[in-house]
């Protein structure tokens, strides 16, 4: 089983090492900076493919485990391991990270710092997915959240949002739509969420010390403790709100449109593609994994909010004129499907939920790459000022349609498998009616996505417009890689479902029903 010792440590530390090397590299070493960044992305890609290939689904449980005590007195340890749920998410992170590096290939402004912060962020993400020690997990979580402030603040883009009515002067004063506003809002919001998580973790540490005989942050140790009644529900709610903010749960989602619209392409790709999944993963791993009783009691709340997310996000997307906001709202809607899958508490729904994390991650990363290309070539983000772009950028138009089709759940692409599994799970759950707004949400997605395709790419070109050129050279890498993944996951779900089923079975084994 042990293909390679320290497989997971390598996964986490490779991007961190890349960040360290980047730190000492001179600012002008453009080619070297990119090479180091690619290496920092390639090693985890390789290790996560190995992890997927060698994860023994029949054996189940956490595998590739590494454990070294750090502070025994506090129950702190370097304890890594992945189960069938984390393995696909590792791969997702590696794919998005790799393509994000290629998408920002043309970044020339302070490229060294850009790649450094990107590498730090990714280190944090990998860390969360592999950590089995809650304290270490929390540290990695903070590492994943914070670099985004710098990425948006320095490399982001601004777009003025005009406030109407009594909000007019307030909007100007606060600078709504600007990159400083977006960066600050995103960071403060997520840090507020972190506070909830920290309180939750500390409560578990304290309350778990009694039954275990000594305090511990260890996930496996804590998973044998039963936190029942009000305490369990409180901790669950802390995790749900804390991680849920990052997952974009309604009504704490408004950081996402402003933040994702202001962020640079690689930032939006990482954030909407991977970090939002980190939130959902947190709810799943800590909330559902450690507090099954509370999860069962509060599943109705999670499901209800998820259903609101799906419909509300999809409807909100239809109102947007800025193409980045449209994609951001569609993320809010699609994260609702992830959360709905969790709330079903059925193995089909949970597998679908994680499948949707992967499918949406890839799809939204593709979207943000495309939007970035359209923006750089046409210097526009306002869809109403676009039209007929398919003539001069047929390649970009084609890939945009592929991403859109996956987002509206067209069979043959990854989104369909994920959504359908979630709906199957919902239909067999305690609340079958949840499936209805889910399916209707997919219909609304078809409305706004295809309308956007038509507004941007179809119809006659606007008179007097310079034709924006198609993608070229290295720009194709992300587009081809990400859309191939969408097709692969759409036609061959076994690839992920085998480990996912194992992971979900482990998780549900603790639910008495």
């Amino acid at each position: 089983m042990s293909v390679m010792p320290h497989l997971l440590s390598m996964t986490v530390l490779a991007p961190f090492a890349a960040a360290l090397v980047l730190f000492v590299l001179p600012e002008r070493a453009g080619r070297l900076i990119r090479t180091v960044s690619v290496l920092g992305a390639a090693v985890p890609l390789l290790t996560s493919i190995l992890a997927l290939r060698h994860y023994d689904a029949a054996l189940r449980g956490f595998q590739f485990v590494e454990a070294y005590p750090l502070v025994p007195r506090l129950g702190l340890s370097w304890h890594l391991g992945v189960d069938g749920i984390a393995v696909p998410l590792l791969l997702l992170t590696a794919i998005i990270h790799g393509t994000a590096v290629f998408t920002s290939w043309t970044t020339t402004e302070r490229a060294k710092e850009f790649y450094l912060f990107l590498a730090l962020l990714v280190t944090g993400v990998y860390g969360v997915f592999v950590s089995l020690d809650l304290f270490v997990l929390f540290l990695f979580y903070e590492l994943a959240v914070l670099p985004m402030y710098v990425l948006i603040g320095v490399w982001g883009s601004s777009m003025e949002i005009e406030g109407r009515g009594p909000f007019g002067s307030l909007f100007r004063k606060i600078g709504v739509g600007g990159k400083d506003y977006g960066a600050m809002k995103l960071t403060l919001y997520l840090l507020a969420g972190s506070a909830f998580i920290l309180v939750g973790i500390l409560l578990m540490w304290v309350a778990g010390a009694g039954p275990m005989g000594r305090p511990s942050f260890d996930y496996l140790a804590l998973s044998h403790v039963t936190f029942s009644g009000g305490l369990g529900r409180s901790i669950f709610l802390l995790f749900y709100v804390g991680f849920g903010v990052l997952a974009g749960i309604w009504p704490f989602h408004t950081w996402s449109p402003d933040g994702h619209a202001a962020a640079p392409a690689a930032g939006s790709m990482m954030h909407a593609g991977v970090l939002m999944k980190l939130g959902a993963y947190g709810v799943l791993r800590l909330g559902f994994g450690l507090l099954p009783q509370a999860a069962q009691q509060l599943a109705w709340l999670v499901g209800l909010v998820a259903v609101i997310n799906i419909v509300y996000g999809a409807l909100g997307a239809g109102w947007q004129k800025d193409i980045k906001y449209l994609i951001a709202y569609s993320s809010v809607s699609h994260m609702g499907i992830v959360m709905l899958g969790l709330a079903t508490l059925t193995s089909v729904g949970l597998a679908g939920s994680v499948y949707q994390m992967v499918a949406h991650g890839i799809m939204t990363a593709l979207f943000f790459t495309l939007v970035n290309l359209v923006y750089h070539k046409s210097h526009r983000r306002d869809m109403t000022a676009m039209g007929g772009f398919a003539r001069s950028m047929p390649g970009i138009a084609t890939f945009f349609v592929i991403a859109g089709l996956s987002s509206l759940g067209l069979p043959g692409l990854a989104g369909f498998v994920a959504e359908f599994l979630v709906f199957l799970g919902a239909w067999t759950s305690a609340h079958p009616w949840w499936a209805i707004p889910g399916v209707v949400g997919a219909m609304i997605t078809a409305l706004y996505v295809l309308r956007a395709v038509r507004t941007i790419f179809l119809g006659p070109a606007r008179p007097g417009d310079e034709a924006p050129p198609d993608a070229h050279g290295v720009e194709w890498v992300s587009l081809v890689a990400l859309s191939s993944c969408l097709v692969l996951l759409g036609v061959w779900p076994r690839l992920l479902l085998d480990p996912l089923n194992a992971g979900v079975a482990d998780l549900l084994a603790r639910f008495g029903s």
């Binding site: 606060i174 408004t254 409807l315 193995s347 067209l410 239909w427 179809l458 076994r494």
Partner: protein
Amino acid sequence: MIPALVTLCGPLAAFALIGLLPPLRRAGRPAALLSIAGIAVAALASGIQAVPYFRGVAAPATYEFLWAPLTGAPSIRFGLLVDGLSASMAALVALIALLVQVYSLAYMASEKPASLGRYYAYQAFFAFAMLGLVLSHNLLQTYVFWEMVGLGSYLLIGFFWERPEAGRAALKAFWTTRLGDVGFALGILVLWGAAGTFTFTELFAKVGGGAVAGSALSLGLAGITLGAMGKSAQFPFHVWLPDAMEGPTPVSALIHAATMVAAGVYLMVRVAPLLSHAPELMSAIFAIGVLTAFLAATMALVESDIKRVLAFSTVSQLGFMMAAVGSGGAGAAYFHLLTHAFFKALLFLTAGSLIHAVGSNDLFKMGRLARAMPVTAACFAAGALALAGIVPTAGFFSKDEILASVLAGGHPLGFALLVLTAGITAFYIGRAFFLAMLGSHDAEGHAHESPAAMTAPMAVLAVLALVGGALAPSIPRLFAGTIAPPAFEPETAPVFVPILGTLAALSGLALSWLAYQRRSFDPGAVRRAVGPVATLLERRYFVDDAFELVYRRAYLGLSSVVGWFDRYVVDGLVNAATWMTWLVAGRLRGMQNGRVQDALYAVAAGLVLLAWLALGR
């Protein structure tokens, strides 16, 4: 099973090669030839596969593999089902697709090479999706290919994407059918929840054994029926089909004959053994079918665009098929599906030939084309006779079976309405024929006969439209070779059924001859005499307007409400919190000004407070 795989792989390989090799696509003609080769292989393989089923000597065969392993629920298996129904349908689809693709080679010759390559990539994809749908062995896989067929039609209808109308029509087609698919998806969920399987054979066994019954069965089937209504353009989902005429004419032939709209009826025929367990649903399907048949035929009366006349006629004929399904005559519906595919593809291809020659869709700009285009005229006549249901064309036999099954199902009123509709059908197609081919004035421009690549497929279809009635004895044999063979009783339809049908058709044709050829009376005067009714027909019963209203008010309206609410209320609260923080911070900051006097005042005040606290008690 190998012919079925070859059938699928032919068009799929062509699509993959054209799609993945941009130079091939940009070359145009080589891509076209590759696609034609792919569909020719499929046509050959599916033809060979279908022969034993037509002869009634083959049993159903299935092939399946694990697609999505699940825990806590039965895993999802995908596969192929070859039986009398799917084998014959696959052969039909491949044949029509082949003819259309050959025809397109000449029809689309003036397109730029890259554009032609794109056209054939879509064609290959569309054919693959439809063949996959036909050969699916379970409901979920049917849905998968069903949606792909929808995508194919979206791409082909919007082929001339620079024209705003084409983009709009493509969206309308996709959205309207998808609305039905909301029902389809939910229906699949309901049936899966009740039966725990998607596979047709298992589903039939469970329903037949009574394991699945009652509201779950009715609800699930109702959902599937909604999906079929969307695809097969049944009232009120018919709105997309006339607009779909924005696509290239050969595409219309394909969509209207063997793919897309045929999918809905095919699915209903496939699940017909289940429908018989939900009698209320059967009645509803029958009513919808009759209503659609009648309303669409009346709308065709006032249409001047030749393609739209044919489009409404398709909607109407699909209504006939649905009515047959609803009255328990799935065999009759399927028979009509086959013959309709022949004569409707034929009519569209001849219409394309006319449009190619005249450069306009407007019937009133055509006239006396029979002399310049004899082959096209003869083919159009064959198609028109078959559509009208004149003895001994294919249409006569299949329409007769539908009428007989409706009567046998105990629906005398529906029977009367369908006979009337048959008369209207003959009238509007006669009108189109006389206006375009004979008439009193010459067409604009210099009309000329189309090249052989166009006339040859037309000729093949014309022969099929004329002699397709000979398939009638094969239908029971095909159904005997399905996974749920019905207990066929030799139906002895009353002899007045064919007589009534023929009388209706002949009087329709005669009336159109009087109105548009002899000019015995002025159709314009009739139109003026029934003003409001004509307006109602021209506005298509305001169904399009109703959809438009729902889209604008309900969707766009709700969307702006949510968007506004999010920006100004939800986010407004967030921004208000920021603002409050600033406000409070601004006040508090005033205290930390570093002036010694202020600090001393504070110290003094604190001392007074402490003294008061200490002494006051």
